[in-house]
Structures are given as C-alpha cells and as structure tokens.
Subunit: 334 residues, 2 copies
Amino acid sequence: MKNKQWQLAQRPVGAPSKDTWQFVETELDDIGDGQLLIKVLYVSLDPAMRGWLNDAKSYIEPVQIGDVMRAGTVGKVISSKHEKYSEGDYVCGYQGVQLYGVSDGTGLYKVDPKLAPLSYYLGVLGMPGMTGYFGLLKTGEPKSGETVVVSGAAGAVGGLVGQIAKIKGCRVVGIAGGREKCDFLINELGFDAAVDYKAEKVKKALKVACPDGVDVFFDNVGGDILDDVLTQINMKARIVICGAISQYNNTTPVKGPSNYLSLLVNRAKMEGIVVFDNVAEYPTAMKDIAAWIQSGEMKVKDHIVEGIETFPDTLMMLFKGENFGKLVLKVGDE
Amino acid sequence: MKNKQWQLAQRPVGAPSKDTWQFVETELDDIGDGQLLIKVLYVSLDPAMRGWLNDAKSYIEPVQIGDVMRAGTVGKVISSKHEKYSEGDYVCGYQGVQLYGVSDGTGLYKVDPKLAPLSYYLGVLGMPGMTGYFGLLKTGEPKSGETVVVSGAAGAVGGLVGQIAKIKGCRVVGIAGGREKCDFLINELGFDAAVDYKAEKVKKALKVACPDGVDVFFDNVGGDILDDVLTQINMKARIVICGAISQYNNTTPVKGPSNYLSLLVNRAKMEGIVVFDNVAEYPTAMKDIAAWIQSGEMKVKDHIVEGIETFPDTLMMLFKGENFGKLVLKVGDE
C-alpha cells in the first residue's frame, strides 16, 4: 500500500507557490505496538496554516522543511495495535496532508459519523467552531442588543460567530467579498446586514449597517477592514483579533491598524485569541453547537474540494477569498 | 486690569507653529452673581492638548478657533460672588492659557498650598497623576514580580507609572530620550533599567533590560517604540494605550502597530484609557499618591518654565522630548 503526501519543500516568501511543496509517494511502514493506521478522509484547510510555514516564534512550532504539511484531519482507523482504537473507528487529529497516517494516539479523538457529517468535525465541531465560540463569547462578550461585526463572515469561523451572536440577541453585520456571499449571510444565516468589501466602501457601508455603532468586532482579516471598523466602534468596544488573512502573504511588513488610537478615545480593547487555550471547555462548546444545529438555529456550509493532488491550489482559495464556507479537502472515500 | 490670553488662531497641520496662536490682550469684565475671578498661577502643558486642536470627534470637544486655549490651571481667587469660594482660595480647574479667568465654579475645586507645592496639583496630584494611577492599576493590573515597561518615562505620567509599579513590586523599565533622563530614572526614581531610545536600538536594549519579557506596557509614545515592545511581550500581557505623542503632529496617517499580531500569538490585550472615567475615585488616588510622596517612596520632578508669552515654544518642548518631568508654565506670582 502506497502513501501520498504533500511535504514542505521550501518556506514561501509571500504567497505559497508550486515551489513551496513537493508531492511525494512513500511506502507505508507496518505499525508497531501502541500505534494505529488511519486512512485520511478529509483534510482541513485553514488560514492559520500559512503562519505554520514561517520560521518564526509563534503559538505553535513551524512545520519543518521535508515534513508532511500539518493539517487537521478526519479519518478512519484501518488497523490498530492501540488499546483505545479499533478498525472502523472514525478519528479526528492532525494527520496532515496525506492519504494515510500512523499515530500513537497523541491528539486523537473519536468522532461519530451518525451525529454529524464527518466534515463538520473539521469545521463547526472542530477548531474553527471552537475558535469562534470561545473568541466571541469569552473575549468579545456580546450582550443582547449590541452590534457585532465579523469579517471573513462567509468563512468557517465568521459564519459561526455571526450565528452565535444572533442567538445571543445581537444585531449582526458580516463583511464578505461578493454579492453572493453577502446574500447568503442575510438570507441563509440570518445576519441583519452584510457589507461587500469588494463592491462597497467598507467605512461608509458600515455606517449604514451599524446605526448604533459597533460594540464587538471579530476580526479574521486585518488590514484596511480593521482600520475601517475602528472608526465606528462604541465606548468600551471589544475587538477580538482572531486572524489577519489579508496580511499573511505580505512581503512587506504587516499593515498595523493606523486608527488604533480609537481604542483610546473609546476606552476600547483589542485582544488576541488562540483556540488551544480552551481545550478543557471544548465539550461544552460542542454540545451547544450541536444543539443549535439540531434546532435549526445554526446552519452549516462546507466547501468541499476533492483530490489530494489539488492541495496547493485549493489552499490558495482561502487567500483569494474563493472559499464559501468551511474549506475542506476530501482525499479518501469512507 | 488687563487680561492676556493665547487663543487658537487656526488649526495646525502637523506641528503647531506661530500661526496656530494669537496672543491677545482683553479687558476683564466685572464678575456677576455666582461667579469668581481667578488669577492663574500655573498652566499645565500636556501632550493631549495637541488632540484638542483637531476638528475631529474625540473624547472631548475640540477647542474652537478664537477661543482661549484650553489648559488645566492652578490659580488664586481674587474676587468672588460665588458662595463656595472666597478671596485667597487656591483653585484647580480649566481656566486655559491666560492670566485671569472668570468661572461659575464648573469643574473647579480647592487645593491646599500647605499640603503640596501648587504645581503638583497639575502633575502627580492632577490629571497626569490620575491618568497614570488608574491606567496602570485598573487596566495594566501589574502583579508583584512582573515586568512593567513605560514609554515617555521621564514625562509627567511615565515617571509616576514607573514608581507606582515599583511600589507594587514589579521590575520596572523606562524608555526615555537621552542619558541624563535614563540616569535619573534609575538613580532618582528607582527604576530597574532604562532604555535611551535616542542612542540605543530599543528592541535589542529591551531584550537585555527585560530578561523575563514584558507583562505590562504603559505606552505614551506609539510609533516604532510600540512596535518594538510588541516583539517582547509575554503571554496575557496588557498594553495600556495612554497616548502616542510620536504621532500627534503627523501630516501622514498615524503609524499603526505593525506587530499587533503579537497580541494574537500571546493572547494579549491592548486597551485605551481616558482619565475622566475615574472621577469618582480621584480622592482615593490622591490620598495614595500624597502618602507615597510623604513617605519618600515617590519622587516628583516638575519642569517649570516662566512667562505666558513663551507658551507656543514651551508647548513644543513636549513634542521635541525636551521636558524633563511634568511641564508647567508659570504665568503669575502668588
């Protein structure tokens, strides 16, 4: 049995390109005691992966040259010498961008395909879901009646953040690229308004969409959009820094928020989050999110692309704003 | 009796210049019932005054063209038809940059020249003192053993912030311009280390001065210094945005912190403060600060320049980093 995997060939300067990766066919070793072999079914593609390619101190070790590219995965156990896992189990973990992964169980947990489609475990019930849930509720602290704005609103984290804010009784405004995404936010996800940053002047459109100003801003994007929102914040506003996808492929320095003194005028705060800090509380979040999906209060949109060979191009969809919902790479059949 | 006052002649673009101001001699009207006449003795000169010159929404109304320039003052009541004030009382308020002010008592309070030199009521016992006290303790929340860095450390707010942090058991590092100021911070105010931003590479010097990283940064300066400190912050660091004097006279956009994603990596927060939010608690702060001065734990350095006619040049000392301690303009004799 042959494995295929995408390895990091060299660190990208700016956007990842063909030269960043090498597609390698490898032999599958036999598993030893305490190990299990996983057939990868779905690979999670997330903006954070760009950061893992940089040789810089961050919240996680960089991927090393020659390593299989790190990625969250859902897979099926096809053989096991691990006491906790049996053939046929479905498991979530970080097997990376490859067809098969050997694991000793570290970072692995079982998931149930009967409770939710397997791809959900990489989205609303996975890292993006946990990120949005804890980032919004613990750091954004939205109160009923407040206005919550979210950027990257049609992405994996953004769509969930907006829907949770609606459930908490807020006015919710999404920022996304393109009419189709904006219509989806309003008509399908129940957002109160949406700003199309590709067609509208964000600052002007936000003024209309947020007549009472902005109390919470959940930012996935950074750059000019962060600056535009900073001009509209209310007293004691909370800005949750979840990411800055507009800046990840910069070859020039990151654009810092020029309007950050709005924090001073408005006694507001800007705070960064990393999902891993909340591991102990993941079960609570998953229970809440599952219940909201069950009741129809929360809708889920996955964007599934097939074929491991498409990985380099599919990953770039994130940075071009081409994904519509949680981006997942399907690399194997159940 | 003639009054002399500095009025705003036109709004500056960039740094205030001679054209910004007009020096006007006016008649003193008789005071009416409920009013009092104050002879101004000391005028407070503060970085925030630059912001009041802009015709922009902020935490306080802009000064209007033709108005006497707003400024905190200490003065002596020379006649009164106000039931709460008598001739000979010393009062603190916002009489502005002029020799005499008529007041109806709004924003006025009595001060005691026997308890402290009158200029202290514009510094450690005035707005700068309150700003540093509440900004550090309520927003910075320093804990014993943590490292606190303060920029503008030889200024009115910075010197006080560093000394309070020392009292709270922190390692304290000041950033200031010039060897003389840095020596003063260490030898007179008891700072653990000081970085001379005019002579040293701040980032490199901070690494040496803060071997355990930075837990609290109290920023009066903004610009490159804020970016340098952001590279050195610890997990859950608190950055207090008090001001950004390096940016106030910009004719280009404010330099936003390019390294703000360090907030994300370190789950840190950046929060703005305005002193007026703490009015109800001023008495507590004044009591604490007075006690620290009394016990010798806190030292005070005022930088007093004489003569109302020097106002435009004296104000500019703040933006050139030429003041050494709290900058006060003495305009009258007791």
